[in-house]
């Protein structure tokens, strides 16, 4: 047993649990998450997708672009993907993956500068809508540190203007010098033309985009809003997500209203996202309009459909000792106990009082009862809640004005004896039939032995029921003896039992083992002979010895038992 317990504990310890608490269903260490747990989760469920989609649609935060000195094309590709996906690019971080000396070389390379400026132009509406530019680069002597140069507002515009002017100056200068020296400067002029063309083209494309995209103007306040569940019932949770964009004079909170009645205020976070939830409680059944408002901006209305939930009301009325009053306790259930819902007490069909249920859905109220007979019950029927009306059972309360003399429930039915008798009969009948069929009760073996043909072959006189305390027992064994072939080990054993019960005056119970039977034999010689027989019998019967010698020894031992054990009967 100890081994089993230890093995069980070790196996249990070693097996990974298949179920985890809801609050922590993904195993995690300081460094890693269990991807195996994540694989079990549904990817892209609506709950997961909603905020992700909001992020993609409404994101107007910072975009970071890493520029490596030999990989301008990659940065260009990244920026074009950003530009195609996002409507508004306000902040740009140029992360120069170079040290200062490389930056110095870079600044002298007009071709690469042109490329860099092209990135600016193609991704930020000619830099006019760009509000912040941050350039990060590594210190040549300290790779761990990152130097950040932030340009914002007027400084940013000045810097951009300077860059453009510098580029124009450089190209003009190169063209002039090249021309004076007779060098072909067309590539430089071409690059300048390309840049101007690119600037104009991107600006044109941006204005086109503005016409179709409501997010384009950063100043216009906008609010998006989406409830996660639209078909709900009592106590269901409704998740709400949304984003605000643009600017307003004040920092308004987001106000959520249902049917134009505000009921919740949410403060958006720093990037304009807001999220919250509420439980359906005192919202009537039917369709309702949910809307979000942020200052002057209103979201598109969203509909939710509330379905009523079926309720059950259980009432118990108990008299108050020594008073003409009763205590009413009830439980309002609708899938779960229903908290904070009004329940009305009725006395002879007249509303007596209305009480809210507790958080556990219960209530305890003492109602004084004047002299007379009253019908008491409670009912829940407020249409302001998405719950079906329900009524408790009725109680008839009789009071003599001093104390309560009788409380009777309408649900109390007269005692049904059948309800008790039928299970009782079944309870006793089934075991009785079982034992009767097994022959444990109701049959005496001696009766059978009298009829047994084997009996005639025995040398032992049949005394049967006349012998007090004789084998009175096992019909199954007797029946077995009848079916066993003559001379078989089992037949010999059962036959000896019959001999013993008849001659030795011992009571042989069906549950006794051969050893116990042997010990109960009083005569030493008979007991010794029977023990010897048992030794051979057990070896032959249980397959310990299959040789003919053993069988023969057993038969001889049986014959000896018959011989040795008949003495007592003779004495009797």
């Amino acid at each position: 047993m100890v081994v089993i317990i230890v093995a069980g504990l070790l196996v249990g310890n070693g097996v990974t649990p298949q179920l985890y608490p809801v609050g922590k269903n993904i195993q995690e260490t300081s460094y890693h998450l269990n991807a195996g747990d994540l694989r079990k989760q549904a990817f892209n469920s609506s709950t997961d997708l909603l905020p992700l989609m909001q992020e993609l649609l409404d994101y107007s935060g910072t975009i970071a672009v890493t520029l490596r000195k030999d990989d301008i094309e990659s940065a260009s590709h990244d920026l074009s993907r950003y530009a195609s996906r996002y409507h508004d690019l306000q902040n740009l971080v140029i992360r120069l993956d170079m040290n200062e000396s490389e930056i110095a070389h870079f600044s002298e390379d007009t071709g690469k500068q042109k490329d860099l400026l092209s990135q600016f132009v193609s991704s930020s509406e000619s830099l006019k809508s760009l509000e912040k530019l941050e350039i990060q680069y590594h210190d040549e002597h300290d790779p761990d540190s990152v130097t950040r140069v932030r340009l914002q507002g007027r400084a940013l515009k000045n810097r951009i203007q300077t860059l453009q002017n510098q580029y124009a100056d450089v190209t003009d200068s190169l063209s002039a010098r090249g021309g004076s020296l007779g060098v072909d400067t067309s590539p430089v002029r071409q690059s300048r033309t390309e840049l101007d063309h690119l600037t104009g083209m991107v600006a044109e494309r941006q204005s086109e985009r503005d016409r179709y995209t409501r997010f384009a103007k950063a100043g216009t306040p906008f609010i998006s809003f989406l409830p996660a569940q639209v078909n709900v019932t009592f106590q269901d949770k409704v998740e709400m997500y949304g984003f605000i964009s643009g600017s307003q004079e004040e920092n308004f909170p987001v106000e959520i209203s249902i049917d134009n009645v505000p009921f919740l205020k949410i403060v958006p976070d720093e990037i304009g996202e807001f999220r919250s939830s509420f439980k359906v409680h005192n919202i009537s059944a039917g369709d309702h309009v949910l809307k979000a408002r942020w200052g002057t901006a209103y979201s598109e209305p969203s509909m939710i459909h509330v379905t009523p939930l079926e309720t059950k009301l259980a009432l118990k009325v108990l008299p108050v000792k020594g008073m003409a009053a009763v205590n009413l306790t009830w439980l309002l259930n609708a899938r779960d106990p229903v908290p904070a819902v009004p329940v009305t007490i009725y006395q002879n069909n007249q509303a007596y009082d209305t009480v809210l249920t507790s958080q556990a859905g219960t209530c305890l109220v003492m109602v004084p009862i004047p002299e007379g007979t009253f019908d008491l019950f409670v009912r829940s029927e407020d249409p302001a809640y998405p719950l079906t009306p329900s009524e408790s059972q009725h109680y008839t309360v009789i009071s003599d004005g001093i104390q309560i003399t009788s409380v009777t429930s309408s649900n109390t039915s007269p005692f049904q004896p059948v309800m008790l008798i039928v299970p009782a009969i079944l309870l006793f009948a089934i075991p009785a039939i079982y034992f009767w069929r097994k022959g444990i009760v109701g049959t005496r073996a001696n009766g059978f032995l009298e009829e047994s043909p084997n009996n005639m072959e025995s040398n032992v006189p049949v005394t049967g029921q006349n012998i007090p305390g004789s084998w009175d027992g096992d019909m199954s064994i007797s029946a077995e003896a009848f079916t066993e072939p003559d001379g078989s080990p089992r037949w010999l054993y059962l036959d000896l039992l019959r001999v013993l019960s008849g001659c030795q005056e011992i009571v042989i119970s069906p549950v006794m083992t051969p050893r116990e039977i042997s010990e109960s034999i009083q005569e030493d010689e008979c007991r010794t002979g029977f023990t010897r027989f048992i030794n051979w019998y057990e070896r032959v019967w249980y397959g310990g010895c299959t040789r003919p010698g053993c069988t023969k020894a057993m038969t001889e031992a049986a014959a000896a038992v018959r011989e040795l054990c008949k003495g007592r009967k003779d004495e009797i």
Partner: protein, 312 residues
């Protein structure tokens, strides 16, 4: 007799389970940890004839044409160890460091590398599962380590700076400064390097900013991700693979694990243990005379005829 066999079987099963239980652990990244955060599956993959566990950094001396794999080191390397590793590196070998902690930065600093591991984890919209920390990255430069690898899924990786980028995140990735797995104020989209290389003398230093590719839960990724191929590429990158077992968290083990490791590694102790086990088996399975006492209940004088069968 049947009960004896059953009991013996249960004792053997219990001893087996006990042995497994005592020689395994749940330490993060441990090679003896068969759980999701262990690295037992990875340590079954290398070819035993071309792979060597480095229990002492001094053993790196004289090694050639080898890759030295350092997974998740802890603590600090001594100056002597750093010198040995630097000599190994500059001697034309390769060091592959997979780590996301400051211990990795300390080693990189000691090796005078320009590559650094950033302080915060990466997150991204290009994710393999329903968590932005399980990001999908892609090779951006041809390199033998990325041969046949179109994408690599990482489990809480950090951004690398410096060196030549080999694998980078998608552009919809950000450094999750506040560890909320979401884009927040101050966090910006961008492409970040997670595998970088650097030439050092005649050798090559490769840094992967996530040791998670070696844990068991990542080895069960779908074939569409190139993690398995990437691991194979690491194992076969150089003719010989040396795996650091001095500071690496993969070498963490409990006392019994240490004992088992010692037995496994020392042929003499291993032989002694096998001998003792065989002797114990022989003792318990020795042939014993059958217990026939129950057959002989004592002298019986009456039935002399049956006595001749007493010894049958």
């Amino acid at each position: 007799m049947r009960y004896n066999y059953l009991a013996g079987l249960m004792v053997c099963a219990t001893l087996l389970i006990l042995g497994i239980f005592l020689t395994t652990n749940s330490y993060d990244l441990s090679r003896d940890n068969p759980g999701w955060n262990g690295s037992s599956e990875f340590f079954h993959k290398p070819d035993r004839y071309t792979t060597e566990m480095i229990q002492n950094i001094g053993l790196l001396k004289g090694k050639t044409d080898s890759a030295f794999l350092i997974i998740a080191p802890t603590g600090t390397y001594s100056d002597e160890e750093i010198n040995d590793i630097r000599s190994f590196l500059h001697g034309g070998n390769t060091i592959i460091l997979a780590d996301e902690t400051d211990a990795g930065n300390s080693l990189l600093s000691g090796l005078a590398s320009s590559i650094r591991i950033g302080p915060s984890y990466l997150a991204g919209l290009d994710r393999a599962y329903n968590n932005s920390s399980i990001i999908v990255t892609n090779p951006v430069t041809d390199h033998p380590l990325t041969a046949g690898v179109e994408s690599l899924v990482l489990d809480k990786a950090k951004p690398l700076t410096g060196g030549q980028a080999i694998i980078q995140t998608g552009i919809m990735s950000w450094i999750d400064l506040n560890s909320d797995y979401r884009m927040s104020s101050g966090e910006s989209f961008g492409r970040y390097t997670v595998l970088a290389r650097e030439q050092a003398g005649d050798g090559e230093l490769i840094v992967l900013s996530d040791s998670g590719v070696f844990i068991n839960s990542m080895s069960g990724l779908e074939p569409e991700w190139g993690n398995r191929q990437f691991i194979t590429n690491i194992i076969t990158y150089r003719p010989k693979l040396l795996i650091e077992q001095v500071h690496s968290r993969t070498a963490d083990q409990n006392r019994f694990g240490w004992l088992a490791g010692m037995v496994r590694s020392d042929p003499i102790i291993k032989g002694l243990v096998v001998l003792i086990a065989l002797l114990a088996c022989a003792f318990f399975l020795r042939k014993r005379p059958p217990d026939l006492s129950f057959i002989d209940p004592g002298p019986v004088n009456i039935l002399g005829s049956a006595d001749k069968y007493q010894d049958v």
